[in-house]
């Protein structure tokens, strides 16, 4: 006769036998996430893809023309040597930050709500960093020599790169950020690839998922290590993401130009990056949840939480604007003061005031819970965030450059159509990648949602 352990008795009491093998709540999650990958794309997706691909083609044409002809096709001049392209660069790097914040920092803070949006936010990070990296590359004029930015023994001496330059720090920061984000994203998808592999019937799909899933079979010994690895990668990605935008800000802050030469830049840029990134995540997720019918996973609670982050970071950005003006005022430095007065009243004042309206004033509507929980209102707001944060970089870069120490060099900068087309193209690239992602890859981390679902269930039982 077998004597049962008290734990068996307990489990017998708590767990009545079920007629079904498997857990319905969990298989439902698999079905909901895998369904869009197995069905034909809807009309909405096709229309969005056509628009994105068109924008991308325009961008490709503009970049090809610029590379074939030279940087002269842009509106840059000897005074304003950085303008549209570097604005786009900083804008896109900033967008990427929300993905890492959601996937790494919120993981460390054990925020379970992140599980259904972290995969798409990470994907967004990667596509945004690709878009960002494009701009310094094409600004080089001779992008086929881009490998010169890496320190390698060469036949020119060896003439090495200058390790004291923030532009070189940028090279390392962006490349590290891209690599670590890619690894984090891919490793996170391995269990889901295994789920898709086991769902697929034989054929090309099954072969691809088999290769991509690395032979994953759900072993708990592996899960245990996997969770350790995820926490380590999150712990590494957290200071990394802060370092990336800090270094981007040092591209400006280490110069002596009034308007750029400020110590507030690193935290100010990081707050702005998170604000703009959450704006873009909101734009994407409000669209995606209705396009892919995932309202049950990307809920109003998610939108509410993201809106709160935008309220915080938008207000931080507003505080930074005020601080910059205050410091310029008390600095006693006439050049600093002239730059800031010029920003608010000069020829680019409309950019400045639109920026203040979008970034510092508009987020205050998020104090209202009704706005935070309305997808339509948040969508409109997120567009304002994108516009405002793009203009912020434009204002910082162009208003500081176009009128600095030497009045005889003062000029105006206007973008050419080629530059506008290139910006459009970067949006096309971003959305093309994102639309392909939601069609071809599991856009919700099934295993994480299942884990969070179980954890919630256990908590409510206990």
């Amino acid at each position: 006769m077998i004597r049962f352990d008290h734990r068996v008795d307990r489990s017998l009491r708590l767990q009545p036998r079920r007629p079904l093998i498997g857990n319905q709540a969990l298989s439902r999650i698999t079905d909901d996430v895998a369904r869009p990958l197995e069905a034909r794309p809807g009309l909405g997706w096709c229309a969005a893809f056509a628009a994105a691909a068109t924008a991308l083609s325009i961008g490709v044409a503009c970049v090809a023309y610029e590379i074939a002809t030279g940087i002269g096709v842009w509106g840059l001049n000897r005074t304003v040597g950085w303008a549209f392209d570097i604005t786009n660069f900083v804008f896109w790097v900033g967008i990427g930050h929300a993905g890492t914040l959601i996937s790494a920092i919120l993981l460390l803070f054990r925020q379970q709500w992140r599980t259904s949006i972290n995969r798409s936010a990470e994907a967004m990070t990667i596509f945004a960093v690709v878009c960002a990296a494009l701009f310094p590359l094409i600004h080089m004029g001779r992008p086929w020599l881009a490998f010169w930015v890496f320190p390698y023994p060469n036949s020119r001496g060896s003439l090495w790169v200058n390790f004291r330059s923030p532009l070189l720090w940028d090279v390392f920061a962006i490349n590290t950020y891209m690599t670590i984000s890619l690894v984090f994203w891919y490793v996170g998808m391995i269990p889901d690839f295994a789920t898709l592999r086991d769902r697929a019937s034989a054929g090309l799909k099954k072969t691809i998922y088999s290769i991509a899933s690395f032979g994953w079979n759900g072993s708990h010994r592996t899960w245990s290590r996997y969770e350790t690895m995820n926490v380590i990668l999150a712990g590494l990605a957290t200071p990394l993401v802060i370092s990336v935008h800090s270094i981007v800000s040092m591209d400006f802050a280490t110069s002596i130009l009034p308007g750029w030469h400020t110590t507030i830049f690193p935290p100010y840029f990081v707050a702005g990056a998170v604000y703009s990134g959450f704006g873009m995540v909101t734009t994407l997720l409000v669209l995606t949840r209705s396009l892919m019918h995932l309202e049950a996973y990307i809920t109003e609670r998610h939108l509410d939480a993201m809106a709160k982050v935008m309220l915080l970071t938008g207000s931080l950005v507003g505080l930074a604007y005020g601080t910059e003006f205050y410091i310029a005022w008390v600095s006693g430095n006439v050049y600093e003061q002239a730059t800031f007065i010029g920003r608010a009243t000069g020829p680019y004042a409309w950019c400045f005031w639109t920026m203040v309206a979008c970034n510092a004033v508009a987020p205050q509507v998020l104090w209202s819970a009704r706005v935070r929980r309305s997808p339509a209102a948040l969508f409109v707001f997120s567009i304002l965030v994108n516009v405002g944060m793009w203009l912020e970089r434009f204002v910082i870069i162009v208003t500081s450059l176009h009128r600095s120490y030497l009045p005889s060099s003062w000029v105006m900068y206007r973008p050419t159509l080629i530059e506008v087309g290139t910006l459009l193209g970067s949006f096309g690239l971003f959305f093309t990648c994102f639309l392909l992602f939601i069609r071809l890859l599991p856009m919700i981390a099934m295993w994480e949602v299942k884990g969070a679902h179980r954890a919630r269930g256990a908590a409510s039982h206990g």
Partner: protein, 174 residues
């Protein structure tokens, strides 16, 4: 070489954890547990050691940092020192950002690589599922089954009593 396993499936992770505790309390050894998501409390129930991955991270991070500083110092001080804005050859503070980035890069890549290596995961590795649904909605416990090595009857009873929905024997590799 193919081995035989006794595989019990569960619908609820709580029952699974209970079963693992019971089975181990009765002196059986668990070969492995299969689950569609990480199950909390299973590490303790299975008696798994803490992963040693953090040591890999630390070692790779230290190497990455040292290599970065060594390269920057060698290039800027020994190989070709350039006077840039009158800054000293050994501008150690300016070398910090790149040293930091390379620390993170080396540590992150090494951690992921060590994980894949230790778990035997690589592109094209053959998947050895413990049964249908373990990557979807089912939890499974596998015991290595050798004739006469343990009392199959007792193991079956214990597993069923802990809430197993199905118990079967499997011959193959896991």
């Amino acid at each position: 070489m193919a081995s035989a396993y006794l595989i019990a499936t569960f619908a609820e992770p709580e029952a699974l954890v209970g079963a693992v505790e019971t089975i181990r309390a009765h002196g059986f050894k668990i070969y492995d547990v299969y689950a569609p998501c990480p199950v909390h409390g299973l590490d303790e129930a299975m008696g798994l050691r803490r992963s040693r991955l953090p040591y890999v991270t630390l070692a790779a991070g230290v190497i990455g940092c040292a290599a970065a500083i060594a390269l920057e110092f060698y290039v800027a001080v020994f190989d070709w020192n350039l006077n840039i804005g009158g800054k000293p050859d050994n501008s150690l503070l300016a070398f910090v950002p790149i040293a930091f980035e390379l620390t993170v890069l080396a540590a992150g890549l090494a951690t992921a690589a060590a994980f894949l290596l230790r778990a035997g995961l690589f592109p094209g590795a053959a998947a050895r599922p413990a049964g249908p649904g373990v990557t979807d909605d089912t939890f499974a416990v596998a015991l290595r089954w050798r004739p006469n090595a343990f009392d199959t009857g007792e193991a079956r009873h214990l597993l069923l009593a802990s809430g197993a929905t199905d118990i079967r024997q499997m011959v193959g590799d896991l």
